[in-house]
């Protein structure tokens, strides 16, 4: 089996799953549908591993293998082939998406068991995996856009999965609309690229665009800005971040899969994939760094004050993706992809752990109603703790290595971008402190402390789910438990992929012209040495520990007093998510509603009557033509003869 074949199998297996469940419909039992769904993603994961092995056994490492299924459209030199592109970057994403995706599929079997719409849910999950693979495997701009749109659609369907809840429907719409803004931006960016060079496939684009567009020109900045718009929306970064917290209305596996591990990292992937384009504009790079830095800090502050367990994790996701954006912005693509993978492990772990808690407590998500769960859920507690330690970046958990590699590169970036980049490093450190704080705020509030009435109810087996007490089979059904355990293991050992001074697997793997692990300028920066990395580790580790200690003082032992009394304004601002929603409401939503109202008035008074007139005219014309068709054959013959005459006259008239 060639590398192309294995990649195509990995790509198409989830689609086969969707089709089987779709056409099987009611004939498939829930069990079979779940099995088909999981099996298709497992096949995909197996094929992804095969692709990885094949890639490593290639004699001559190439830029990448473009595999064209067929040419969809040709017009002159313009060609849109239906193609996938296999290179280290897409294989990396393929592994993360199918691997984490498979674990979450298995988890969903337990989490969604008993839901009457179970089949639909599993089909949507498969559809999402297929869409995400379209995005990461796309071999040209057009199919990147297809994948970009498809994941947006799958995300919309899954956020609004419980469509009888008005809040879920509203959240789905919000996510879709914000993402549509990004979609339009990225589409315009692709059109601009196409206008410049008339090609869509990756390698021609990357080779020709630098020749066609001057470096640091306005055109280059424009293209990057539009592409960045798409990335910001998908990855929920400032200022297009407001949809992500609301998206937590979806079932928890969805939050873990789409809104933590895969889709929200599409923006990071896009920047890494399109980096030869972003290399053309210094201003765009700076913009990415600043936006990423601001997002990571702001989301950290908001996470401190939120009270919904999933929203806290959502803001944490936003913050961590901010780190990835900073890394991608300064050109440390290897570090960004590394953190993307480890984050997928520990964030999915946290979400799924939270899911177990939510499931056990009868869909309660408010952390103020929790507390003391450690006694009843010792295993979940341990796994959640592992996830939080990895998130905070404590040695030797995964986040320690990946986040600190980013911080180390940020230090080195000061050499390239000037001293202001050190401010971003400061942001990163402050963010690390925040991470320790909000991460362990959850741990202490949910699992430690006094037992809340709700938790006591759970302990007595009084919380029912589809007629069974939620603690009947221990902490969680086995299908929900072991994916979490695997993720826990990955969160512990995942960091070993890159150990400073010894090896750096992501960096070496991503080596190749078009999937470069680092931008050239950064590679040669003065500070780009393992020593700097160790130095960064030495600074950030104590800061993370400080964060955890702080969390203990505030929410564990209560020695520092509550946040509310000490920083009431910060608390309130955090609960309002810094007012972005009400600001958007005032600036965009209200004016556009006013515009819509006046448009309706305009339509009622002018457009509709005018259209009615046009419709009557059209119907009259149609009726007249139909009336001419009177069924009398001699009349038809006359009409036809006159038509011939008309053609002859016209011929002679045009000629003369």
């Amino acid at each position: 089996m060639s590398i192309e074949a294995s990649a195509w199998i990995a790509y198409l297996a989830p689609l086969a799953g969707v089709l089987i469940i779709l056409f099987g419909g009611m004939k498939l039992s829930h069990k079979v549908a779940g099995l088909v769904s999981c099996a298709s993603v497992l096949i995909s994961f197996g094929a992804a591993i095969a692709t990885l092995l094949k890639w490593n056994s290639l004699d001559e490492p190439e830029h990448g293998v473009a595999s064209v299924a067929w040419t969809w459209l040709t017009s002159g030199t313009f060609r849109i082939p239906f193609e996938i592109f296999i290179d280290p970057l897409s294989i990396w994403m393929l592994m993360v998406v199918t691997g984490v995706g498979f674990l979450i599929h298995v988890y969903s079997l337990g989490y969604m068991a008993g839901d009457p719409q179970f089949r639909r849910f599993m089909a949507y999950l498969n559809l999402f995996i297929f869409s995400m693979l379209t995005l990461v495997l796309a071999g040209n701009l057009a199919f990147l856009l297809v994948g970009w749109g498809l994941v947006g659609m799958a995300s919309y369907l899954l956020i609004g999965f419980w469509h009888d809840r008005p809040t879920a429907v509203a959240a789905a719409k919000k996510a879709f609309i914000v993402n549509a803004i990004g979609d339009v931006a990225i589409m315009l960016g692709l059109f601009l690229i196409f206008m410049e060079i008339g090609q869509v496939s990756w390698i021609p684009v990357f080779e020709l665009l630098p020749l066609a567009v001057e470096e640091n020109s306005g055109r280059a900045f424009m293209i990057c800005l539009l592409l960045l718009g798409g990335a910001l929306a998908k990855s929920a970064q400032l200022p297009l971040h407001t949809w992500l917290p609301d998206a937590m209305e979806g079932p928890t596996p969805v939050s873990a899969l789409i809104h933590a591990a895969t889709m929200v990292t599409a923006g990071v992937y896009a920047i890494a994939r399109l980096h030869p384009i972003f290399d053309l504009s210094m201003d765009a790079q700076k913009l990415i760094i600043v936006l990423g830095g601001l997002t990571l800090l702001m989301a950290g502050f908001i996470a401190l004050a939120q009270t919904d367990i999933k929203r806290v994790i959502a803001y944490s996701t936003m913050s961590q993706i901010g780190y990835m954006f900073v890394a991608a912005g300064i050109g440390a693509y290897g570090a960004a992809m590394f953190h993307l993978a480890t984050h997928a492990f520990f964030k999915a772990l946290l979400f799924l752990g939270a899911g177990i808690v939510i499931h056990a407590l009868g869909d309660e998500q408010d952390i103020r109603k929790m507390g003391g769960l450690k006694k009843y859920m010792p295993k979940t507690y341990k796994l959640f703790l592992v996830g939080s330690l990895a998130l905070a970046g404590i040695f030797p958990f995964a986040g320690f290595f990946s986040k600190d590699e980013i911080l180390a590169f940020t230090l080195a970036a000061g050499d390239v971008y000037g001293t202001w980049a050190y401010v971003i490093y400061g942001f990163g450190l402050l963010g690390a402190l925040m991470t320790g704080l909000y991460g362990f705020r959850l741990v202490f509030l949910v699992f430690h402390g006094t037992e809340s009435p709700l938790v006591a109810q759970y302990g007595r087996g009084e919380i029912l789910h589809h007629g069974h007490a939620t603690n009947e089979h221990g902490e969680a059904p086995r299908s929900m438990f072991w994916p979490v355990a695997v993720l826990g293991l990955l969160a512990v050992v995942g960091g070993a992929l890159a150990i400073p001074g010894l090896w750096n697997v992501p960096h070496d793997f991503l080596h190749g012209a078009h999937a470069a692990p680092t931008r050239e300028a950064l590679e040669h920066a003065e500070f780009s040495t393992p020593a700097i990395w160790l130095f960064a580790l030495a600074i950030s580790l104590p800061i993370a520990v400080l964060g955890i200690l702080g969390a203990w003082m505030i929410w564990g032992s209560g020695k520092l007093g509550s946040l509310r009394t000490r920083f009431p304004r910060m608390e309130r601002a955090g609960q309002n998510a810094w007012g972005w929603d009400s600001m958007y409401d005032k600036v965009f939503s209200r004016p556009s509603q006013a515009l819509a109202t006046s448009a309706v008035a305009f339509e009622d008074t002018i457009t509709v009557p005018a259209l009615e007139e046009a419709e009557f005219a059209g119907r009259d014309a149609g009726a007249n033509i139909a009336r001419l068709q009177n069924g009398v054959v001699r009349f038809y013959a006359l009409g036809t003869a006159l038509a011939f005459l008309a053609v002859v006259v016209a011929f002679i008239w045009v000629e003369g």
């Binding site: 390698i203 119907r619 014309a621 009726a623 009409g639 002679i652 045009v654």
Partner: protein
Amino acid sequence: MIPKPELDWFAILPELITAVGAMVVLLVGMGRKQWNRVASIALTSATLIATFVFVLMEFNVSRYGAFAGLIDSDELANAGRLIAVISGLVAVGLAVRGRANDGRHGEFHALLLTAVCGMSLFAASGSFVSLFIGLELFSISLYVLCALDADRSASLESGLKYLIIGGLSSAVLLYGTALVYGATGSFDLAVIGDSDSRGILLFAGAALVLGGLAFKIGAAPMHWWTPDVYEGAGTPVTAFMSTATKAVGFLVLARVLVTAFGAESSTWVPIVAGLAVASIVIGNAGALGQLHLKRMLAYSSIAQAGYLLCGIVGWDTTGIPALVYALIVYTAMTLGAFAYVVVLEREIGRDATFADLAGRGWASEGRSIGHALPAFGLVVCSLSLAGIPPTAGFFSKFGLFDGAVESGYAWLAVVGALGSVVSLGYYLRVIVELYMREPNAARAAAAAVNLPAASTGDHRWSAGTQLPVVSGLAVALAGATLLLAFVPNKVFELGCDVKANLAQRGDDCTNVDAAAAPGPVAQTAPAAAE
């Protein structure tokens, strides 16, 4: 002494196969027993499939000037033959009548084969003589096919009207050829094209030839026959007539105009554009007010002829490849729509109106997915006819209008686009009825007042009985309409060959040239293929 012409029998093998098949089927079909009926269906299908296979095998073989210049068998001819054969096969499938036996199976299938034979010859003709013979062969077969349900007056009326007006237009076409012969001294298309004769004789002749062919493709203002004939004829016949005739008609129109009258293109292009406008306006306006599905589809086919004419207007740029693609797409989606009409007529036992569609899109109690899926097929075909992505109809319309724009007829594309907007008024109505209306028997019956019995070719067919082959065809053709959207490029390449045919043995295709030209972009592009 007259030299003995070289007889290249392979050049007319498709015609030979169908002609022999027709004779055999006629003999076999004489009996009225059940096996005669089954045998004539089987033999007809076998003949058509054999023709299909042969044409496909020899697809890229060009045999010009066979039979003393009468036959030009090339990709253009083969494209026409393929469409005619496929339409014929679908018509055979749609006309399968279960166990009812009206004794006309022999005539029906034999005439279908002679019609395919005539179209095939028509598409491969290199001279006005063979062109006229082919035209008459399939026209006369169709006149009889239309009138074949002799116990239904609408069918007789349809056949008679078609005969009279078709006879008129054939005479006009023949007169035009005579004038052209008078001007150039030849019937051979290529010779006419090479002659430098110009003058009123040639122009009048060319005008009459154009008019006669425009009649066959159902373009306005020669459209008078279409609504009545399409409505009255049995639905399988209508389906065959509206696709095969139109497809070969367009291909031959392109061949005659470009090969024989290429030098006069500055004269006929505006006139073709005028015909396109008339067809788009009359077809779309006429279809708006129709209650009857078949009549609506008849007007819609006039409008589609208008869009297809845009491809001829853009013949010197990208119009011809777009036309070939559009003809194939048109065939699939129109046959699909008619297939559902047959499904519906069989179910209700009379001619179908819009009101009969009400609520049929849903699978509910008493209506399995097997009922709902063909209805969805009609939705796909309607959307494709309206030109809405992602159906193939979008890409075909895009290509046609693009050809017109490239050739400097941007205003024509605007007219076409406006016409498409109007067409939504009746195409979307199909969806409204299928999914958003409650089935209302009284309303349907009221709308059906004064409608004749079903024109499926057999009104003895009891209402409510379905044949899987018909609903299967409805679904398969809708599937083909969707699939064609994913392979426009393959068909466009074929269209490039057809365009090269028009210049007779020339090699002239913008797409092929551009792909082969080692331009600055193409030189760096190969890296992508690695």
